[in-house]
Amino acid sequence: MKRQVTISGEPIDTAALAAGWAAANDMGAVICFLGVVRAGEDGKRIQALDYEAHVRMAEHQFHLLFDQIEQRWPIGSVRLVHRIGVVKAGEPSLWVEVLAPHRGEAFAACQWLIDEMKRVVPIWKKPI
């Protein structure tokens, strides 16, 4: 399974990431999830979220999750980008892309990865 994690303060370049889909080698399903900062949540308005990470540990924890994905599903590739620092409302903070032979395993692995990330990967956010 190909794997890639990027935790960075740079804006997420979705066009460049989407261009990478051409490289899917006999994978029938590509799932891409984009998490976008919302201006309104629970009735409060925010300008941005300020993301903080324990970067080395976050990268390691993502790789532990990838190890588990590799054991559970026949996945060809996982790429994940998490932006840190100030991310304005309307801008993406998370990109997850899963390539798999069929859609069932792609959806399952993608949803599982996001759920587990929110449990174990040391990243926090503060509204601004």
Partner: protein, 81 residues
């Protein structure tokens, strides 16, 4: 032995610092260290039940035996995405 302690998210505000250190007897466990840290930072102590602990880049529990130079992180529940 000397252990480095790092705080993340609002734990930095509760302790007033991002990083500190503690001296401990050889063979001390993670639980010994955290007891010392919570005693030193009463505001943090209120968060004990929800605090997550890592040594280096891995989660560990209170029985984990520390070694000189270990970097311990204390932080609240994570919320990436």
């Amino acid at each position: 032995m000397k252990i480095t302690i790092c705080f993340y998210s609002y734990f930095k505000e509760l302790t007033g610092c991002a990083q500190t250190s503690e001296e401990l007897a050889d063979g001390s466990k993670l639980g010994d260290l955290t007891a010392q840290v919570f005693a030193r930072f009463p505001k943090l102590s209120a968060m004990q039940k929800s605090t997550l602990f890592a040594v280096g880049v891995d989660y560990q529990n209170r029985d984990f035996v520390l070694r000189d130079g270990d970097e311990v992180s204390l932080f609240p529940p994570v919320q990436g995405g």
